[in-house]
Each structure stands twice: as structure tokens, then as C-alpha cells.
Symmetry: C2
Subunit: 226 residues, 2 copies
Amino acid sequence: MGRKICSEKTCIPIDAIRRLIRYYRDIKVLHDKGIEVISSFDLSEILGGSPEQIRKDLSYLGEFGKRGVGYNIKSLITNLENRLRLNVPAGAIVVGVGRLGMALMGYAGFKNLNISIVAGFDVDKEKVGKSFSGIRVYHLRSIKKVCKRLDPEVAIISVPGEVAQEVSERVISAGIKGILNFAPVRLSVPSEVWISHVDLSIELGALLFCSRVSGVDEDRKSSTSS
Amino acid sequence: MGRKICSEKTCIPIDAIRRLIRYYRDIKVLHDKGIEVISSFDLSEILGGSPEQIRKDLSYLGEFGKRGVGYNIKSLITNLENRLRLNVPAGAIVVGVGRLGMALMGYAGFKNLNISIVAGFDVDKEKVGKSFSGIRVYHLRSIKKVCKRLDPEVAIISVPGEVAQEVSERVISAGIKGILNFAPVRLSVPSEVWISHVDLSIELGALLFCSRVSGVDEDRKSSTSS
DNA sequence: ATATGTGAACCATTTCACAGCA
DNA sequence: TGCTGTGAAATGGTTCACATAT
């Protein structure tokens, strides 16, 4: 479950990458507050998790700290930015401009990671040609042409489940190498394409089950939650 | 990372619960297609994953199959429904009726799991008193009263990060036992409350990183993706 | 003295291999 | 025989403990 990123010499667990991105985002806030040097212990209080985990996670990307001292915030940010490739701006497209797609087109948080939504796609005449949150919606049939021009790297799929597989194939043939799929179906994609699933029903359903079960018998293992 | 569900005698990994919910949802479709009995091998072709994993996942909840035969679809559905507690309808609230919150209020997929959004909450006068997707929006200050009446079990938080911690506390004091948090901050909650985070930036950022890295050097482990 | 970086130990989950039933 | 159910082995990630550097 979950792929692993093996570049150069080290294999980075996918969850470590998620945590590192979060560290990067949250450490930028510390910089804005004027903090200059911080230890993994103090970081753990702010970021959550254990100092050891933070050190291990950071060490997947390089040696950014000074022994006996801690981490210099400014250089930590630069290093994370470079190693996580967040210094290079990325474009993303949203395919399926329903309520969820529109919300994602207007989602402000992506810009913290230097990602912008560069276009939306739909087949609905009511939406094609219009703009939402300043982002133009094109007809799905012109996806290749538009992608050639705007050069997005990843796609967000928020179409109905029934058409998601077909849409993913069109997206891939337009050159997209990563798909974030919100449709409630498992997409099968060629192995060179990365895919992540965000299945809202399952997230809510799993949460509900967990809260129901642990409400009855108070007996579960505690740790940092996902 | 990730809690574990320990009820009765068995401990079920949280990811197994997610998969089981997905199985339930997808197996209902098989029933509609008229299939009556199916083997774990055939199931794996449809649901993804290995037959062994499906058998193991199902066995966390009970013994639903017949050796030498396979699983009776109808009884499998009933058993999953009961064990996953999806036979009892659940109410959920959405706190923060921005674009994302509205999209979640109108999300059709929850009903497959017998979950309905019973109310929205916001502090914006423009939204309070109105209805979206047939669901009424109340002022956050009346959350206790409204929750007492509608008795929701879980909450979806889709407010700005700056107020998410405070909002989570109000939600918990209204009796909510599970929170699905879309705000890009880690919430700290009492141990009896379940919390899951859906951090859209991090999902998209991790996907982008993975697709960028594996695009350069083709070297990663393949398996069923998350 | 203090805090990092990391191999080794540990632990959870997935996979395997086969015992147990129809 | 065929397919499920499940202990046991393997895998992979997190935690620990200490060597290392300032």
C-alpha cells in the first residue's frame, strides 16, 4: 500500500514525503515569526510527532542541521524547497468543474507549494468559456492543445465515477504524469503515471466507524493520526 | 501513524477499514448486476489488491465465505453493512460553508454509506439562514442547540486554518466524536475524539513530487496505491 | 555539553503457505 | 478438488540508542 520514492541512494517512504511537505509549509511560518535556529525537539512541539521522526525525515533529504546546535530555519527552508522541488513552479489542471472542481480551482492553499491551477476542463456548455476564480474552463476535447500551451504537470480529476477512467486516459494522453483522483473509483493507469486517491466517502465512513467503535469500548492505540 | 481499531478480540488496521468500506460500496454494484456468488480471486480482479488481502480484510470482521465455494454476495453485503455499522444512518455536519464546504454539503457519495449532512454552520450573515443543496446553514453560535436536535455523529471542518482549532473545540463541546478536518493545520483534540486530516495541498504536493522524481529516474517500487 | 544523524531493534501490516471445510 | 481462513514469515516503517560533530 503506497509506493515508495527511491531516488539516488535513499528510499523515502511516501508518508515521510507528506510530512516533509507539511514541515516545509509550517516552518515557513516560523521564519515569518523571526525564529532563526531551532532544535528537533522544539520543532516536534510545533509540528507534532517525535524529534527522532523529524530528524529521520529530514535526513532522507540531506544533512541540514548542526550537531550541538540545531537547524537554521532559513537554510532549512531553502534546503527543503530545493529537495522537495518546490522552488520550480508547477501547473495543475482541474478536470470536472462541478461544485467540488470549482472549489478546488479556487483553493488558496496550493500557492504555498508553488502550485497554480492553470485551467479547468468540462464538457458542459454552460461552463466552457467561462472563468471561475480567474481560471478559464475549456472543453475537454481541447485538452491536448491547451496542455501543450500551458504545460501542466499534474491533474485533479473531479468528474463523476462513471466517466473517470475514460477521463484519466484523455488526461494521460495530454501528457499529464500525476493524477489526484476525487472520483470514487479506482483508476488503472500506466505505471509511469502517479495516482493518488482522495475518496471523500471512504474518509468520512472510516472516521464514523472508528468513532462509533471506540465510543463503545474505550480501547485503542494512540499515536499521531494520519 | 494512524490509530488502530481494537474491538472485541481483533485489532483491525485503519487501512483495512478503509478498504472494507470500499469493498462494501463496490460489492453493492455487483449485486445490482445480478452476481450471486464470487471467489476472493474474482473479487480481487474487480476491487483491486490480492485475493489474500481481501480474505484477510474480510476475516477481521467475521467468516463470511464458504470454503470451496466463495462468498455469497447478498449475505456479504448484509454482513459488511452490519459489521461496519453502515446499517444505522448517521448524520454529519459541515462547519465552514465556503466553496469547499458547499461542495461537501452537496456531495452525493455520502448517501451510499448511509451518511447524510444534516446541517451547515458558518459565521457569515450572508450564508446563515440560507440553504444549500437542501441543507440549512446555521450560525456557529447555535451549534450546541442544533446538534442536540439533529444529533450528528461526525463533523467536517472546512474553515480557514487560523480558526480551525477554536472551531474544533466548539464542535467537540457540542458532542461530536469524530472530525474530518480539511483545514491545513494539525488539530489537537482530546483522545476520545477521532480525527482525520485531508490536506489538499499536501496531497497535491506529494503527488507532484513523486511524479517529478520518478519522471527523472525510473526507479520505484510498484504496488497498489493509496 | 548538546543536539544531530543513523544503523539496529522493534513493531505493524502485508504476503505466503497450508490447514480446514464444503 | 476448490476456495476460505489464518498462523507464520517477510516486508517496510518507526523508534531507539548511541556515535559523531560543534
